[in-house]
Symmetry: D4
Subunit: 221 residues, 8 copies
Amino acid sequence: MTGDAELDHDRRRRTGVPEVVLGQGKTPGQTLALLAALRRGDPSGPALATRCPEAVLAAAPGAFPGETVTVDVLGRTVVVGALPAPRGDTVVLTAGTADVPVARECATTLAVLGVAAEVIPDVGVAGLHRLLGRLERLREAHAVVVVAGMDGALPSVVAGLVAAPVIGVPTSVGYGVAAGGLAAAASMLATCAPGLVVVNVDNGFGAAVHAAKIEGLAADG
Amino acid sequence: MTGDAELDHDRRRRTGVPEVVLGQGKTPGQTLALLAALRRGDPSGPALATRCPEAVLAAAPGAFPGETVTVDVLGRTVVVGALPAPRGDTVVLTAGTADVPVARECATTLAVLGVAAEVIPDVGVAGLHRLLGRLERLREAHAVVVVAGMDGALPSVVAGLVAAPVIGVPTSVGYGVAAGGLAAAASMLATCAPGLVVVNVDNGFGAAVHAAKIEGLAADG
Amino acid sequence: MTGDAELDHDRRRRTGVPEVVLGQGKTPGQTLALLAALRRGDPSGPALATRCPEAVLAAAPGAFPGETVTVDVLGRTVVVGALPAPRGDTVVLTAGTADVPVARECATTLAVLGVAAEVIPDVGVAGLHRLLGRLERLREAHAVVVVAGMDGALPSVVAGLVAAPVIGVPTSVGYGVAAGGLAAAASMLATCAPGLVVVNVDNGFGAAVHAAKIEGLAADG
Amino acid sequence: MTGDAELDHDRRRRTGVPEVVLGQGKTPGQTLALLAALRRGDPSGPALATRCPEAVLAAAPGAFPGETVTVDVLGRTVVVGALPAPRGDTVVLTAGTADVPVARECATTLAVLGVAAEVIPDVGVAGLHRLLGRLERLREAHAVVVVAGMDGALPSVVAGLVAAPVIGVPTSVGYGVAAGGLAAAASMLATCAPGLVVVNVDNGFGAAVHAAKIEGLAADG
Amino acid sequence: MTGDAELDHDRRRRTGVPEVVLGQGKTPGQTLALLAALRRGDPSGPALATRCPEAVLAAAPGAFPGETVTVDVLGRTVVVGALPAPRGDTVVLTAGTADVPVARECATTLAVLGVAAEVIPDVGVAGLHRLLGRLERLREAHAVVVVAGMDGALPSVVAGLVAAPVIGVPTSVGYGVAAGGLAAAASMLATCAPGLVVVNVDNGFGAAVHAAKIEGLAADG
Amino acid sequence: MTGDAELDHDRRRRTGVPEVVLGQGKTPGQTLALLAALRRGDPSGPALATRCPEAVLAAAPGAFPGETVTVDVLGRTVVVGALPAPRGDTVVLTAGTADVPVARECATTLAVLGVAAEVIPDVGVAGLHRLLGRLERLREAHAVVVVAGMDGALPSVVAGLVAAPVIGVPTSVGYGVAAGGLAAAASMLATCAPGLVVVNVDNGFGAAVHAAKIEGLAADG
Amino acid sequence: MTGDAELDHDRRRRTGVPEVVLGQGKTPGQTLALLAALRRGDPSGPALATRCPEAVLAAAPGAFPGETVTVDVLGRTVVVGALPAPRGDTVVLTAGTADVPVARECATTLAVLGVAAEVIPDVGVAGLHRLLGRLERLREAHAVVVVAGMDGALPSVVAGLVAAPVIGVPTSVGYGVAAGGLAAAASMLATCAPGLVVVNVDNGFGAAVHAAKIEGLAADG
Amino acid sequence: MTGDAELDHDRRRRTGVPEVVLGQGKTPGQTLALLAALRRGDPSGPALATRCPEAVLAAAPGAFPGETVTVDVLGRTVVVGALPAPRGDTVVLTAGTADVPVARECATTLAVLGVAAEVIPDVGVAGLHRLLGRLERLREAHAVVVVAGMDGALPSVVAGLVAAPVIGVPTSVGYGVAAGGLAAAASMLATCAPGLVVVNVDNGFGAAVHAAKIEGLAADG
């Protein structure tokens, strides 16, 4: 069932990050089989699948007997195997409540990669005091991931306030000109705040991988 | 020389705002002739030309003998005739120094329409304290125009902080995905801050007209 | 159930407009819980939810015992609590019948904010006499909201006819190049009529908030 | 010098319209040589070049000794040979003064094709009375060409008022979201007024050819 | 049930074309009620509804007792009342089989407007002999409507072959860069064939109205 | 049932490739009837339908009694008739597992056209060793088709490594800025690797036809 | 002066095509130095620079003493060294006269790669007989490159008429929706003619490399 | 002369990065005055201006008597004051020679921020061995910035090969669909390589700031 996939078991050694299953565009059977193969191929850490359809989320708990299986329905992730002990300190902010699923994908990926992550939801710029009240906490973090749809303004504001590297994640939350997340992505790329970097729309996973690489340097530097 | 134009001398009575000459897309001769015709047709207030090319800005002071002529090279405006006494209180913010020409077009238009306007430049979100330090002043204003290119984030932040109506003016300041101002315009339209309204890119004139209508209601209400 | 949301009870004091629940992108349970929390947190006025999915519209009447609950299925709004006494005079026009749901969202929001609103539907430019026949009524209004999809031409025509501030709301009504409402939005932003301002596609709520701020100035001016 | 062009002398017989030289993208020498070749190849009517650069406009009067040469600097056209007697009645409207060059290209092409054309400039929707005052004249015409940039709203309004076929010509007049004319083109294609047809941005020539075919049917019908 | 619609019974007198119901964006009940109101308001000709959802197509035959009701499931139209006697000669071509529904909408509208229309399907440019074999027939027509998705090339080819006015209708047939029909629309607007005019994607109705106006001139000329 | 289609039985003689049924946009009945008609019209080779909906894939095996019918559910193809003996050597690579359906459509088409095709899946640039390990195999091929969504980077890398002609097929695999496949298509067209050519998004069929024409020249050259 | 470039002298062995200098984006000095280095590094064939600015075209003849230097001002190419003996038979068509520069870049590249190329200009679809009159010649060719701007329709027509592989080259010739060549590129990618492949806008070079690879297979196959 | 700018002298303390002058959109006089003000306001490090027009590059050496002034004409930067001692190890790759100016802006910014940076130019994917030959060097770096225009493929390839954080910088190098750099930006955002982050087109400065923050964590971690 993994016949059309060529697993990259060497990826962890090469890039510091193990291969992960992207559930979107695969059949539930393919996703579960690839999860099992990843788990067998690299038992040094848990196996992760992201963007899982409902069928995978429902079947996963029963599909890996004897394993710790953690399913996050909101974030659409499945983790097979125990999480490593966390280190570091990455904060994941969201502009709105509807951005939380992307933040959860990000936080779960960070946990799989051994990074301590805290999610602070719903601190968008329409009520700036919510953000300013967290400034002290934000300034302690090693890295800050900012998840925002609609206007995509929050990452630029955060990047002007903290010294840590800031990673913007545009989301597809919104309608009209905001539908699909391209307006938020463009606003983040066009930022007036130096040093803000951006990943694809709804790509909480990618932001987590980048943050984990930064945390690795902070720990080992 | 005004053969291809049909002046709308009735516009002030109908919409509260006199016709104005858009210098862009016209020859310098056409613009100057239309300014003269507007001035003759409606002597109750000054005549305004916006987006004037250099040739118009240079020729205007000598072209209206016996008239008060005010030229703003940065804002690219020409005003023929004395300004009315100002009333009201509109603040025009800019995110960066490069946005100032659009703010000047806005402020000149407000002055022509009899509104008191103050320009506060360079208070973009990369250094939020610059904005927060002006909050008291902003909260006094009847209307706030926020001029911003690049990420277009500033109007959303302002709209979350004040009770006055806020008008966002995206500008073509920026490069890459920000070139042309569409990213800023989209971010403003997609705002998470209720009540922010938007005009065309670089359209300081249009924002001023809307603000002046609001000031009219505030004065006469 | 409000764990991923941070309510902004201070918003009414700060911006003149209370926080509102955007039903889109939230679970029905989240929306109802947030409505209840808003109602509890600020009993000085009704609580509003917009863009509610069918499940919320159906459950709302039974979810707030002892409260006045008003559901508008076409406009997809839920209001919990009695409406304030209306003041002011805002007219909401639509170009076509299919634009009416957006106009209803706008009118309900105005009512929640204490503004008297009249909806005049189906006066698009394909039959201009329908608009011209209402000119006298339009010229009485303090503010005019014009809701239009397809070509988005109506707001420009209206803005050339009245002295009141005009707010254009593009809608996603239409197909082909009009699908999604971006053609209408671009036409409105590109208007030749001075002072027209624009909000996001289908954002009747945002137009209402801006109009209510204008009405506030007119009343208190 | 016509080595890279293959003239289509049969086009008039086949489509009712002779081949024409598009000056854009050709060297001045190529354009003048092609004009001469067209004139020689089909002496039954004048030869036309459109979108001519300055060098062609300047050189044309001296380049065809013994011929009637008509140059329109504003419309950027050159006609070699006498115009045929006009028949029919096509009106060409423009929304603004800056749209006049496109209307002139249209009117010159109509004249070359033997159609009587009247240009009525500057009747855009910001001052609707200018259009309504011409309604009687418009209702006499066989065909109406409406040239408009910016919001592109005028053709939809006209198409709702007259029984004649209406052809919209979007122009590149405008800035910001209107730059390049795509907003106007989209608004015209998305029209709510049945029967409006559209040509490329700034394509006064194409609109004229279509109108001339209609006039041919009206005359010969 | 027609409360949100303002019928334009004067449209036939003013523009030569009666008002028509666009079924898309309306409830089935609204569409049927509007059809009935149109039929009552202007009994001089049949009433037409386009883009009808399945529910309207199914209910229509039983909804107008004593009337001739014609339903075209493929073209998604409903006609209430007898068709007028046809005059003129308009040909409607399609590039492919999947474009036929749009051609049917066009042909039905022509029939309602009293124009004789022939649909010739599936003569796209991938097999040019299919078109060339119909050239004699095409050259007899007063007007030619060409319906094409994907590359949108067929209208340009036809416009180079016939003297009649040619109207291009882009369709949403296709995938990838062709999805939605914008590539076909752009290709038609950018045509190298003089005189081709274009309507919105899938707008067979609009093309028919324009063709009918041309036929009216040809008949009455 | 083939009334709206005009089969092009001459296409194989004219272009070397028989007509094929595109199942998308047709009813299942139309697709099956056209397959039967193609099979009857040109018995010299099998008949192919691509992009078949589920109903066609399910009905096909029983619809052609006495024929060899081959259905590929993943690639959504139906072949009626025996395949010709293969010649040549084309390799079809995919960047990811989710790109395999497009590669299958390509390989099936090649088989129908008599070309030997090998599919090598999941060798995308995130794990470059997977590609480099196949370099020897790739360098034997006459033509290489590279199927990739998301970043669309793989075809450029392959085109820099092999002497055979390389054809890039962008796919709609991906989300955010990659949704719909336009980002992948643009990246392939913008390639820095000389000689890479591109087909429409998900168009495995078109790539196969081009490769088969190349194989024909290689065999017959 | 080649310090910022790393020449790829191995490219001819690896991909069958030597490295070439893209003059655009480089200083004239860089381009000439790289040409000299390429010529020295691989004396087995001529060195080619494409998209050369005027300064390079003017300086090239004097910059390589003792060498055969061929400059094509229209096609903007410089060739240093004698051309190889040609083999094969590739035809390069253009839709219009303004597309010829791109065809010349293509033909020069083919000559450098040892392929016999014939350019046939100005056979666009507005006058189809010009193409049909060349059909016999086209059917002899091994490969056909079709260069077209504006509607981009010609490659689809050609691909339906010949058995040889067809490569479409969109050009930036045109205005309005055609400006920049994206409309032509989209039309070609969306083609209804099986097997048409596409390169970047104005990329005559890339089409030539692909055609040369095909010719290599035809010769060696 | 700094009247329209409000310098943010606190930025270095707040975000770890001092304010910098963006020369684009400012007059030469403004840029030089702001540089002087920055230098005075924060003498703890050098002052930097990016995207300087020629006039600033020419005037800068004479404008700061007694100061070390470093001008990079290719990278368009001016540095006033001595550089700090470098620490860390960031590598800046470019895909092509034309991408070098952006890499120089990046390297100069890193130097100003006290980071050791090495630029390795012209290792694009069309000749992959150039990259693979540097793999050992790349794997030593703390952070890798990859600057690429056209297809934007190089950052995805690099991100699959190294464990360090990788930052992609799209450039405006290219033509046709690559013009402006949006194709490269989209390809990078759509990457299949986990953890790649992206900045605006041509934004070497922003990538440097992010890399410097990472280096700070690596040094202090």
